[in-house]
């Protein structure tokens, strides 16, 4: 216990909080921007006609590629591409780009599956009343798809918080990195990573609560 007290000095706590903020920022960015871009990709894949064929192809390739490549490989890829391009960006920026790429790919697939879970007759009815694709999705399909989209999406968010630890591999000072630093400074692995564990829990617990709440709320409303 006294070791824990030793660890929790003012400067270490600030350091820990910064790591937590970084992990939070990476995860939030991956989930929010990934959710937006992912939804856009999912919609792009539903377009029809020759004009949007390149868009569909691009969306398909992007989604399938980044879902299959390991997180660490995508991270390294981004890291080296930025190095080669000569752009002087921080490792944090590289981490951000990586999480957005990955979040987009995974959430695109989750959203696509959700949209497709809505019965075709709902799509056809909207189509024969001249709804555009976006109107159909907004007014008819998405409200019915939430119950299918939310559970896997929140499951993904929570995994994602943990996966963002890989950004420490390129030197982003997020939570896991902070744990390693504590450990290197001579604190025992148990205490160093115990503190980190609690911090991860503090980030992911409210999120899973939010997910459960939203599911309950949307599940009880009219989503068939």
């Amino acid at each position: 216990m006294s070791e824990l007290a030793d660890l929790l000095t003012y400067y270490n706590v600030i350091f820990l909080l910064k790591g937590m903020a970084t992990t939070f920022a990476l995860s939030a960015l991956g989930c929010i921007l990934g959710g937006l871009f992912g939804t856009a990709l999912a919609v792009a894949r539903l377009t029809t006609g020759p004009l949007t064929l390149p868009l569909r192809a691009l969306a398909l390739v992007f989604t399938e590629f980044f879902r299959r490549v390991p997180f660490l490989v995508t991270l390294m890829l981004c890291f080296f591409i930025f190095q080669f391009s000569g752009l002087d960006v921080s490792t944090f920026t590289v981490g951000c780009v990586t999480v957005v790429l990955i979040g987009t790919a995974f959430l695109a697939e989750i959203v696509r599956a959700g949209l497709q879970s809505v019965h075709p007759n709902q799509w056809h009815a909207a189509e024969t009343m001249n709804f555009t694709l976006l109107q159909t999705i907004r007014y008819v399909v998405l409200p019915q798809a939430w119950t299918v989209i939310l559970p896997p999406a929140f499951g993904f968010f929570i995994l994602f918080i943990k996966d963002s630890a890989l950004a420490s591999q390129i030197g982003v000072i997020e939570l896991t990195y902070v744990g390693k630093v504590f450990n290197n400074r001579g604190f025992s692995a148990g205490v160093s990573f115990g503190v980190i564990l609690v911090a991860y829990f503090m980030l992911s617990y409210p999120l899973s609560r939010l997910g459960a709440k939203l599911e309950k709320k949307l599940g009880s409303s009219r989503t068939r």
């Binding site: 189509e127 001249n130 709804f131 008819v140 019915q144």
Partner: protein, 245 residues
Amino acid sequence: MAHLELDNISAAYGKLRVLDGIDISVGSGETVGLIGPSGSGKSTILRVLTGLLKPEAGQVRVGGEPINFDKPAEIRRLRDRAAIVFQQYNLFQNLTVLENVMIAPTKVRGRKPRDVRPEAEHLLAKVGLADKINSYPDQLSGGQQQRVAIARGLCLKPEILLLDEVTAALDPELVSEVLDTIRGLAEDGMTMLIVSHEMGFIREISARVAFMADGKVVELGSPAQIFDAPEKERTRDFVGKILRH
């Protein structure tokens, strides 16, 4: 002049030819019944007429104007003029009865909710659902849902109404309320193409009846001709079997 004409229409799902040179015309304010065995292509005709399936050959004309199915704008125009009510009522499950009826006029046509609402309420009252406007589709019986679907189609002020077996999914005791609704529309002079297995109803309401088999119109004539004195063997078989039921 014919309000709606199908001129030598052929259509296929992939390689499967489902419609083969269909000629049907519906006059203004006329009701034409479409009957035939399962799989003969009746629903497919309505899918073509609502732009869900592009014909391979032939021409569809509305008010004499041919529709070019390669032009999205023309398909949209076609859908503005002809509304369809499906066999499986297809109400939007996430919206109330009133919202189901109002959504297309307001969101798609851009009309003001305050203008559409009285019309929607009037139509729902007309189909006997004034007290259900705030219910959700899954809180209604099949017959009630079907009548909402009809009101939803009518709120778009179509010139032509296409009905696909609107009573097929219903329990027998719910059929008559929907048929009454359609009867009222015929009296109001709506141009209608009705697919149905309710032979008694088709006979009563249609000015002319088309009998289809294997993607072709085998015989087209007055209800008296089709049901009492069919000229074609095929029609006689079908009608005989149905009426003997």
